[in-house]
Symmetry: C2
Subunit: 363 residues, 2 copies
């Protein structure tokens, strides 16, 4: 049996979904322009890490003979504010089925955390996780199956969250198209978030341990220390990176992590307790997610509370930022894109200023 | 028989390649900072196009039930210079096995054309082609083969150019590690270029016609007209986009196109002849490429000369920029990354100023 996907376009889409095709049309018109210019000392991109792999002609897709390519490198885009190059840099890592785009212009066209943190004086570094986006992935196994030299069962799976799953899983509402009354996510632009989705081969298509951990640690080293911020799938990556080289991990910000490890040794806890750690969770965490691997985000929250407890017991500064406790309700899993995203960013910036270092000059 | 790729790391790599592992280590240290700040009215990212696809649980990777996702959307990053928002925007599209990274910081850490064009007053828009980078691809067929519901032969192939093929194909030298004496490519940083490589599913994994054509046309429309610049695989995309909506294609720059179409109707030629067209080709075009689909770039050059001839015969302004004719030798296929990349950019900027429109204010 063939289970082929169906592409819905034009009139068919309008009929089936009951919406005009323009519902998923252009977004540039919605992009807002700030009132004041952004003044950058520098911007650009580079790679961290990467290894050479020797591959066959077939593995390379048959355009030429076999040879070497680079795999497991991590793409990083950066912006350094004028006058801010002495301030602590912030590295922002995205979650599952997403790319560094998560931190850029929001789905409804507002400023992303990347630019906001720069405007607050911090150099920012936005990677694509190894295996995704501009970091690429290792295509050899796919071409081997195509050529019949490997069985189909060797294929790693690609995951994507459906639009319907995103609503409860990202906690915009308990089911699709029914937002919480207090939802902070710009639900009118949810189709723009859908466009941010890319296939994610983390389950089986990326080496273990994930090369992104080491790349983040190396990146922090190259910039002489950084605040490492992860989200969701990468929410706990800052912990893993810090354990590889604690000296360059100036602060760890875990935004809506899928979970916090419960199996750290006392030695590891001691190492992490020496670092400022902030965990950030939004609202409506009891929502059943609709996916098997995680019944609710409340379980993730509780695992992080447990880790915070262990770190504090070891003398650490770990703390939870739970806006609901401050009377700010309705924040979603995509908190960096929520309508109050800059308010949440301000809490994190304040924490960086108090726990890590105050920016020398804010623009 | 299993043909598995071999990952070379650490000592093994040093032994086999005769180089220290650091040869493909960190690149941030090489990234240069400009003397003057970059002042942006706006920067950010958004998507163009995209369609809904209904997919099964298996096609989505089994994390939840079947549902809809967005496919065939095009990611675009942009920068608008302060004072330059009235100037003609330039859209820069990358080539095969590459992403928008092509136009950013060069492999040896110099300024890319993205920032340079902004500093010369032009808003720039840098997409990832549909099917690659932050634009994602349609993963359904891969998961169907994995699940056994589609045969392996339905898999599209992923292509990557090996490091060895890149030397003659991108014309750094006639064979690997033997640069031309006059090569303009920063060959000491060729391993950084290798990291820019990502798997490319254009052969079979992207719809026909390529959705990037329409997305480029729509992007040009959304910014009220743009110069469309393609490179290599996308070198002729500006022509295809212009034919979809000539009114918004203010100028077409074909940088080292894989070839120029020879089958345009007289009507199409008449349409394109009304637009300024510039084709750019580097040196050493007779080099055998080492890959089957294109014996030499001279053939691509000649196909574009033929198109220029047809356009001129129809009253058009089409012209060839061949730096070698101006005494500038050694330019490569990756001309936007060559050591004299800003000199080449100046020729293109001059052409835009003369044939399309002069920037109101250059920074």
């Amino acid at each position: 049996m063939f289970c082929r996907s169906v592409i819905l376009t034009g009139g068919a889409l309008a009929t089936i979904l009951g919406t005009a095709p323009s519902a998923i049309a252009q977004a540039l018109k919605d992009v807002q322009t700030p009132d004041t210019p952004l003044v950058l000392k520098a911007q650009g991109s580079f790679f961290v890490g990467g290894e050479k792999a020797e591959q066959t002609q077939s593995e390379l897709g048959d355009l030429g003979p076999g040879g070497r390519i680079t795999v497991n490198q991590m793409y990083v885009r950066y912006m350094v504010p004028q006058g801010g190059d002495g301030n602590v840099p912030v590295v922002m890592v995205h979650g599952a089925t997403l790319t560094g785009k998560s931190w850029e212009t929001t789905p409804d066209g507002r400023m992303g955390w990347d630019e906001y943190f720069v405007r607050k004086g911090h150099p920012i570094y936005v990677p694509d996780q190894v295996g995704r986006g501009r970091s690429g992935f290792n295509q050899a196994v796919f071409n081997n199956v195509r050529a019949g030299s490997s069985p189909a069962a060797t294929l790693p799976r690609w995951i994507r969250f459906s639009d319907e799953v995103v609503w409860p899983n990202f906690r915009f509402g308990s089911k699709a198209s029914e937002p919480y009354a207090d939802s902070q996510f710009p639900v009118n632009a949810v189709d723009e978030l859908s466009k941010q989705g890319v296939p994610d081969v983390s389950f089986g298509g990326v080496p273990t341990p994930n090369p992104t951990h080491k790349a983040l640690s190396d990146l922090a080293s190259q910039v002489n220390g950084a605040v490492l911020m992860g989200h969701s799938q990468s929410g706990a990556f800052p912990l893993a990176a810090a354990l590889l080289n604690p000296a360059v991990a100036k602060g760890l910000v875990l935004v809506e992590p899928g979970g916090c490890p419960s199996n750290y040794t006392d030695e590891q806890i001691k190492t992490l307790a020496a670092l400022p750690v902030l965990v950030v969770f939004g609202d409506h965490r009891d929502t059943p997610t609709g996916i098997g691997i995680r019944p609710s985000w409340q379980l993730s929250f509780e695992s992080c509370q447990a880790l915070i407890g262990r770190l504090k017991a070891a003398g650490g500064q770990a703390e939870m930022l739970n806006p609901a406790e401050r009377g700010i309700r309705g924040n979603s899993h995509m908190i960096m894109q929520d309508k109050n995203n800059l308010q949440i960013a301000d809490f994190i910036l304040q924490w960086i200023g108090e726990r890590v270092s105050k920016p020398k000059a804010a623009k």
